[in-house]
């Protein structure tokens, strides 16, 4: 069994075991098993990074066995520089989420932990699948645990949110399925994604494919105007659910653009790049303004996620190296930062049971350690140099200016809005005098929460101060992708 298979199936096996054997009377044991499972599956992904060969665009750690011979579907895995860090991010966030739920979730603990572990395996599967159907199976399968996580442990309006999440994303994916089958027939019976990259396609076919993939991935990212499910879902989802959703699940969509839309339909991608850039800029600017007026902390961070993901798609569709690498770096950085933001809100929510900004004020007085962490993450969210948030945004803006000054200018305004809504929220929640009795009674974070936030803080600072390992790994793959996308696939 290869490393990638282990990375996928270890968490799923632990999760399934928890579902089968864990009962609420053994909640303590369940938590430990879940933690061990998450740590083991993280450790399994570490060698991927250690043994990864930089400087080549070829797929690494490839595994290939026939799966459904009737349709020539293969169990085909492999990662390149674009997926390596996403795999690591997924297994890392899972560890943090398991820690975050430790004392918070007291009912049906085994199902909660099991769902997250299984979800983690599915998402790693998405990032490493090189077969269309395998990709689709993992991509869709993530909906089931997430639906249950939102619906069982969510807030008062959880059912609406769970249905909205499920049906929105399902519609997109079903159209992608049609596109995958179309490609299978066009390519003469192959579901191999890499072979699709080389497939010549006419302009009608490319346009059809581009929009079928767009339906799947734009909803997932989510791009404006199909982003409306995200704030609803974030508000209702439990803390861990929000963290995983923002940190990893949104990346499934962005990753899809890189792996499917751009290389398979390069001409259509160029033709419709203006649309993608326009939608991304709207996400960055307009949604940034929307974030500014939110009263609910989770909603604010949710809108900020939409804006930050707008950066990612903007970077991809300006078609230069800085933009694309910047987009990928931003994906990973946003994974750490938004995960941390949501977990931080969870820390406050566990104590006060409110997410309204107005219910807080002066938290720094009662929770100084926590406020320090929150400040770091807020700074990262604004894109302060030295934090993870800076690297990606800066690269995308540079790339955008290179492509077109006005696009670059539009993108750069995001930094202003980002700073405005994040710092304003920080001021209202943490600074100033103690606002009310709830805040007065707050206890600072315990060792568990300290550990959880430190893990993320280390990641955020490491990536901000020393982004070289991230960019080095992806360089060759990005260059190769752009070289490929620049060549027209239209039959002459």
């Amino acid at each position: 069994m290869g490393l990638l298979s282990l990375a996928i199936w270890v968490p799923i096996a632990f999760g399934a075991a928890l579902l089968a054997f864990g009962r609420d009377e053994h909640a303590k044991g369940v938590r430990w098993v879940a933690l061990v499972g998450a740590i083991v599956s993280f450790l399994v992904t570490v060698p991927l990074f250690m043994r990864f060969q930089n400087g080549t665009a070829a797929m690494q750690f490839v595994e290939k066995t026939s799966w459904i011979s009737r349709f020539n579907v293969n169990y085909h895995l492999g990662i390149d520089g674009m997926s390596l860090w996403l795999v690591l991010l997924t297994s890392f966030i899972t560890v943090v989420v398991v820690i975050s739920a430790w004392e918070v979730i007291t009912e049906r603990v085994n199902q909660y932990m099991g769902a997250f572990l299984i979800l983690s395996g599915f998402m790693i599967g998405v990032f490493s699948a090189l077969d269309g159907i395998l990709f689709y199976v993992f991509f869709e399968a993530t909906l089931i645990p997430m639906y249950l996580i939102i619906g069982i442990w969510g807030g008062p309006n959880k059912i609406y949110a769970a249905f909205k999440f499920f049906l929105y994303t399902l519609l997109g994916s079903l159209l992608m399925l049609v596109a995958l089958i179309f490609l299978y027939n066009k390519s003469g019976g192959s579901f191999d994604i890499l072979s699709w990259h080389k497939l010549p396609l006419g302009s009608t076919a490319q346009t059809f494919l581009f929009f079928a993939f767009f339906a799947a991935f734009a909803v997932k990212v989510p791009m404006w105007p199909v982003h409306t499910w995200l704030p609803d879902v974030h508000v209702e989802a439990p803390t861990g659910g929000s963290a995983v959703l923002a940190a990893v699940m949104l990346k499934l969509g962005a990753y899809g653009f890189l792996r499917f839309s751009m290389p398979i339909a390069p001409d259509a991608s160029h033709e419709w790049a203006w649309l993608m850039i326009a939608l991304s800029l709207i996400a960055v600017i307009y949604v940034g303004l929307v974030a500014l007026v939110q009263q609910d902390m989770k909603k604010l961070v949710a809108y900020s996620s939409v804006a930050h993901m707008g950066f990612v798609t903007l970077g991809f569709f300006i078609f230069n190296e800085l933009g694309v690498s910047g987009g990928i770096v931003q994906m990973i950085a946003h994974g750490f930062v938004s995960g941390a933001m949501f977990l931080g809100i969870g820390v406050l929510y566990d104590r006060v049971h409110s997410r309204q900004i107005a219910d807080y004020g002066g938290v720094v007085n009662t929770m100084p350690k926590f406020a320090a962490f929150a400040l770091l993450f807020a700074m990262a969210n604004c894109g302060l140099p030295g934090t993870a948030g800076f690297v990606g945004e800066w690269m995308v803006i540079l790339g955008a200016v290179k492509a077109n000054f006005w696009i670059g200018l539009g993108a750069a305004t995001a930094l202003i809005f980002g700073a405005a809504y994040t710092l304003w929220m920080y001021k209202r929640v943490y600074l100033g005098p103690v606002a009310n009795d709830h805040v007065k009674e707050l206890k600072d974070i315990n060792a568990r929460e300290f550990l959880m936030l430190s893990l993320l803080a280390i990641a955020v600072l490491w990536m901000g101060l020393y982004p070289k390992p991230f960019t080095d790994a992806m360089d060759a793959s990005v260059v190769e992708l752009l070289r490929h996308v620049a060549i027209s696939k239209l039959p002459v």
Partner: protein
């Protein structure tokens, strides 16, 4: 004419018939309320028949018997094998329910259901209009009796009445169509009819006229819209054990006769019947999915879901257009066969849970009756959730591959209209996902009304667990069953 080979082609049927009679006799001396002896004997018989037909299917030989009246081929034997297994599972799930409602007192349940199975076998194995019709009538007459098994129950009696009247009309349609075909071609034998039509010398108008009646009759039997009116009423009205009996195994037989009549016999008219099936499929997808959303009764919702699922299955038959060559047709029909088999597997699980929850005097028919099932019994909630997600077509469950295969068959034909059909089907299945999700929602998100845990006897628990696991396992490894369907259909089309 009745040579040794002829007996070989029908020996599972003979075993079934003889054992049905023996079981009826044994039942006279079995006075236990749960009919343990009869029950075990029935299961053993069904298992034996499943093994017999399964072995014949693996052998893969095609044999005609009784002067071409009966055909025993790989597809038919697989369908028979799965139908016997489905009936076995049905009886395992249904016995506690039936015993609680005094439906076992005369022992008819076992005997009649075996006769119904015999009817299915004859339908599947018939290569002659007359024989297919006889099999169909044996199945439907047994079904009418089974629906009316609780004769003191007004709802069940009403359902039986509706079923009988509409079913008789459908049979009339079918018989009328078949007689027209006979009139036009001069033969009842499918192969003769095929040859006569291929010559092109038969009046096309008469053929199409007959075809309309045949397709309408078949549509009645599979419950495709707009001939679906009996489905919700009968599903809801019949005792749940019987609902499962008429909703699971007979779908396999219905698929069998569609292949026999339309493909084996009337393939030269494919252009005509494919258009009719396309209309039926679209109507079924729309009506089934939209009406299912509005249901609060679980059995009724599943009835509409059946209509929608059958619509999807018909799309596979539509896709197998002759112009694209046999390979395409094989792929398309085998997609439909895969669809039916997995549908039956899933239906067994979902009705199994309903039967399990139905205690004495309490039917557990409303969707809200499932509330909080996850807290009461995570295992059964899990099985039901797997069944629902599979019906919705979500990977990694087997229902996804069924949809995938049908969509692939549609898109492979390359025609823009078929790609449009595929997109339409996909959008309809999104609407379908809504009501399947609602069942999951009720089980997992709502608070339970009662705190009692759900208990089941050992046999029911085991079979339900295996049933749920199979939906998942076939979802992870669907290749074997897909190849099986493909080879079976290929063998049938080859002769």
């Amino acid at each position: 004419m009745i040579d040794k080979l002829s007996w070989v082609t029908i020996y599972p049927e003979i075993v079934l018939l003889v054992m049905a009679c023996i079981i009826a006799l044994v039942d006279l001396s079995d006075t236990s309320p749960r009919r343990t002896r009869t029950y075990i004997l029935t299961l053993l018989t069904l298992a034996a028949v499943a093994v017999l037909t399964g072995l014949a299917a693996v052998g893969g030989k095609t044999a005609y018997g009784f002067g071409g009246m009966v055909v025993s081929d790989s597809m038919g034997n697989w369908l028979k094998c799965f139908a016997s297994l489905a009936l076995m599972v049905t009886l395992v799930y249904g016995r506690p329910y039936a015993a609680d409602r005094e439906m076992l007192r005369g022992g008819e349940l076992f005997t009649i259901s075996m006769l119904a199975l015999l009817g299915m076998f004859v339908m599947i194995g018939g290569s002659n209009f007359l024989l297919i019709y006889l099999g169909l009538e044996l199945l439907t007459l047994s079904s009418y009796a089974l629906v009316a098994l609780r004769r003191d129950n007004a709802v069940a009696s009403e359902a039986a009445m509706k079923y009988f009247v509409l079913g008789a009309m459908a049979s009339g349609f079918l018989l009328y169509g078949l007689s027209m075909m006979y009139g036009a071609t001069g033969s009842l034998d499918l192969n003769e009819v095929f040859k006569a039509i291929s010559t092109g010398k038969v009046n096309h108008q008469v053929l199409v006229f007959g075809l309309v009646f045949i397709v309408a009759g078949l549509a009645f039997k599979v419950g495709a819209a707009p001939f679906h009116m009996w489905v919700p009423d009968v599903y809801q009205g019949a005792p749940t054990a019987v609902t499962l009996l008429i909703g699971a195994a007979p779908e396999l037989a219905a698929f069998g006769i569609i292949i026999r009549l339309l493909v084996d016999g009337l393939q030269p008219l494919a252009i005509d019947w494919q258009q009719m099936l396309a209309v039926l499929a679209i109507a079924s997808l729309v009506i089934g999915n939209l009406a299912a959303i509005a249901q609060s009764n679980l059995k009724r919702m599943l009835a509409y879901s059946t209509i929608a699922q059958m619509g999807f299955m018909l799309l596979g038959l539509v896709a197998g257009s002759d112009q694209q060559g046999t390979q395409n047709a094989q792929a398309a029909y085998s997609a439909s066969m895969f669809y039916v088999i997995t549908y039956v597997l899933t239906t067994l699980a979902s009705f199994g849970i309903i039967l399990l929850l139905a205690r004495e005097g309490f039917e557990s028919e409303e969707i809200t009756d499932l509330a909080g099932l996850n807290q009461r019994s995570p295992l059964y909630a899990g099985v039901m959730a797997i069944a629902m997600f599979s019906l919705a077509g979500l990977p990694p469950l087997v229902g996804f591959y069924a949809k995938l295969a049908v969509l692939q068959a549609l898109i492979a034909s390359g025609a823009a209209i078929y790609i449009g059909l595929a997109v339409f089907a996909v959008i309809m299945s999104l609407i379908g996902a809504f009501y399947y999700l609602r069942v999951v929602k009720v089980m997992y998100f709502d608070a339970p009304v009662t705190a009692t845990t759900v208990s089941a006897s050992f046999d029911v628990r085991t079979v339900l667990t295996i049933n749920g696991a199979l939906i998942l396992i076939l979802g992870v490894l669907p290749g074997g069953l897909m190849t099986l369907c493909y080879d079976a259909i290929a063998a049938t089309l080859a002769h």
